[in-house]
């Protein structure tokens, strides 16, 4: 009986052993994350009892070209720029894939694309009618500032203010924590009020000037824009960024984007200056110079 048992069990045990050896190298590893929620649970280090979000962060995504699905394209003036000016393809960062525009608003978005490289500043009243604000070096507004291909720095201390300073156009905004007062006026970077929900910094943004866009694809909003952002630490090196965008004049319902942010890790990395105004002066004002017309 015993002998028979071993005669049967030995090949089985052998197979199990081989399988164990085969699998052993993987035993200490977490399964690769398939989606953000699959990231292993993480509790950020504390600063004054709150998660410490200090650091230089950057999105690595093509969302600034188009929040929605987009194919690779040549970018403007390929006859001059060649592959230097090319724009890579990218997958939509919008939940559900598409922005829920009202029909008439979708027409405006398409018109924006057609006009994104045009400018006309000859009349104060129609100054902002044409062109992507990014191309004109205007402050990008929220959420675009977060996912432009430039780093930004979070400065969080012990005051009721958290600073987010962006490399692009040296734009910045202050997040007022647990603040009651409403936006006193519309501004390019808006009026940001924050609070903590567990480990998540939640920022409510109102009071944004209607002229900002979300991307080069002409995705836009009105003066009714309301953005709720969530910054959630996923690891010492990652924040998950979510923004819920609401604007009853332009969309049929609120919609959401999700983009991971990565900590910049280079030794001594710092925000550098990107004062792009001089890059736009000939484009904006060239027609008014002496001898131009």
């Amino acid at each position: 009986m015993r002998t028979r048992f071993w005669r049967v069990i030995t090949p089985v045990g052998f197979a199990v052993m081989i399988a164990l050896i085969w699998l052993l190298p993987l035993a200490g590893q977490a399964p690769p994350p398939r989606q953000p929620s699959a990231f292993p649970a993480y509790k950020a280090p504390r600063l004054n009892g709150h998660p410490d979000l200090n650091g230089i962060w950057q999105a690595f995504t093509t969302a600034n070209i188009d929040l929605e699905d987009h194919e690779a394209q040549s970018g403007p003036h390929p006859e001059l720029m060649g592959a230097y000016g090319g724009w890579p393809a990218g997958q939509s960062v919008v939940e559900g894939g598409e922005i829920p525009y009202k029909p008439e608003a979708l027409a405006k978005k398409r018109q924006n694309v057609a006009n994104r490289m045009k400018v006309d500043v000859s009349n104060d009243k129609t100054w902002h009618n044409l062109g992507d604000p990014e191309m004109k070096c205007y402050m990008p507004g929220i959420p675009r500032a977060t996912y432009m291909p430039y780093p930004f720095q979070i400065v969080q201390g012990s005051s009721p203010y958290i600073l987010m300073a962006y490399e692009f156009a040296t734009a910045s905004r202050t997040i007022r924590m647990d603040w009651k007062d409403e936006a006193p006026t519309d501004t390019w970077m808006g009026w940001s009020r924050g609070h903590w929900e567990g480990d998540t910094l939640v920022v409510d943004v109102t009071g944004q000037r209607e002229e900002t866009w979300f991307d080069r694809a002409g995705n836009y909003h009105s003066d009714m824009l309301h953005v709720v952002e969530r910054f959630t630490p996923l690891s010492p090196y990652h924040l998950m960024y979510e923004a819920t965008i609401e604007d009853p004049k332009v969309y049929t319902r609120p919609w959401k984007i999700t983009i991971p942010l990565y900590r910049r890790m280079e030794k001594n990395v710092q925000l550098l200056e990107y004062k792009c105004v001089p890059f736009t002066e000939e484009m904006l004002y060239g027609k008014f110079k002496k001898g131009a017309s």
Partner: protein, 367 residues
């Protein structure tokens, strides 16, 4: 909001106010050109840079939870005490003479004057609308100059500058003259403030007629100074890292800092070499600025800076400007500039119209 020069309004109309308010910025050596040779040192030189506001006995400078001196808050540096001491004045004015001195300075800043004809008067009134009321008070210690060294309260004499720089200055001056005549050729010859590239966000920080606010943020390892005009945040690492490489220049330079006791000491290098980038047309290649921030009371930070540029001034000079904490209800607002820089188009179209019709005199361009 007490501050009638509300940035709410400024936000909406900032660009409109630009050109007249910053006319002076068109002149590269606006006040620096005056040689100090004729000024006599005072009998009791103010050698020490420490200003006269003694801290209350029981008061000790607050610290952040991580142990750095706490400078966080919104501060305002407006005062009417001029950078340079007016001729004939002592180091300070007596208590009884303060208001008379203030009136005289206010007059110099365009208030309460009707001379020069209606057009000039209207221009003054226009500027006055934007005037920060704090800009009409001298420092609490009743100093007659922000400069504390040299002891005569005046900028040191300028040195002979190189022929190359003389040529660049002459070009800048010619551009400034065209601007003043309403005949600018092209946007890029206008001053950096008018082009919305640099305003009062480049050190040294000196009071102007409006938007004299600065917000200081701190985090472990960083101090950040955000001047209201133009919305740039000056990141100051405190970790002892080296400056940027010598081939990497920035309009606002590259700043490093450390604490000496309760004083934040910051040093800035790597300025771009464009003329006009650093203070009063000094030479960016040799210009060195060291700034010190010391909290001396809950509502006061002393801001002291020393500028050294042997290619521009015969010796270093130091000034002290008190920063006052403003009511938390009065907060800083976004100062946009380039986004609605209507003036730049008005200035250029005005010039083009005058070229076509030379009989047009220097009326403000139609808005």
């Amino acid at each position: 909001m007490h501050r009638w020069l509300s940035s709410v309004v400024v936000t909406a109309f900032a660009a409109v106010a630009i050109s007249s308010a910053l006319l002076i910025a068109q002149t590269p050596t606006a006040t620096g050109a005056k040689p100090a040779a004729g000024a006599k040192p005072q009998a009791t030189p103010a050698k020490t840079a420490a200003p006269a506001k003694p801290a209350a006995k029981a008061w000790s400078a607050p610290k952040t939870p991580w142990g750095d001196p706490d400078l966080q808050g919104v501060w305002n540096d407006a005062t009417s005490t001029p950078l340079q001491r007016p001729n004939g004045k002592g180091e300070t004015v007596g208590e009884g003479d303060a208001s008379q001195f203030e009136e005289q300075l206010a007059s110099d800043l365009n208030r309460d004057r009707r001379d020069g004809g209606p057009e000039i008067d209207v221009n003054r009134a226009y500027n006055e609308h934007w005037m920060d009321s704090r800009r009409l008070k001298i420092t609490e210690d009743r100093r007659t100059s922000l400069i504390v060294d040299p002891p005569d309260g005046r900028l040191p004499p300028q040195v002979q500058i190189s022929p190359e720089r003389q040529k660049i200055r002459a070009e800048r001056q010619a551009a400034a003259n065209r601007f003043n005549a309403g005949m600018p050729l092209v946007a890029t010859e206008l001053s950096l403030p008018i082009r919305c590239i640099i305003r009062t966000d480049s050190p040294p920080y000196l009071p102007t007629i409006y938007n004299n606010d600065f917000q200081i943020y701190q985090s472990p390892g960083y101090v950040v100074i955000a001047p209201e005009m133009i919305h740039s945040a000056r990141m100051i690492p405190l970790d002892g890292r080296p400056h940027l490489g010598k081939n990497l220049h920035q309009w606002l330079g590259d700043t490093r800092g450390h604490f000496e006791g309760n004083t934040l000491v910051i040093e800035t290098t790597n300025f771009r070499t464009d003329d006009g980038t650093v203070y009063q047309g000094a030479n960016p290649a040799t210009y060195k600025i060291t700034e010190r921030f010391t909290r001396v009371a809950n509502d006061t930070v002393n801001y002291e800076f020393t500028i050294n540029d042997p290619m521009t001034w015969s010796k270093p000079w130091t000034a002290v400007v008190p920063w006052t904490k403003i009511d938390p209800k009065e907060q800083m607002y976004e100062y946009m500039c380039h986004e609605d820089n209507f003036d730049i188009v008005h200035l250029l179209t005005g010039a083009r119209n005058r070229e076509k019709n030379p009989s047009l005199n220097l009326q403000p361009a139609k808005r």
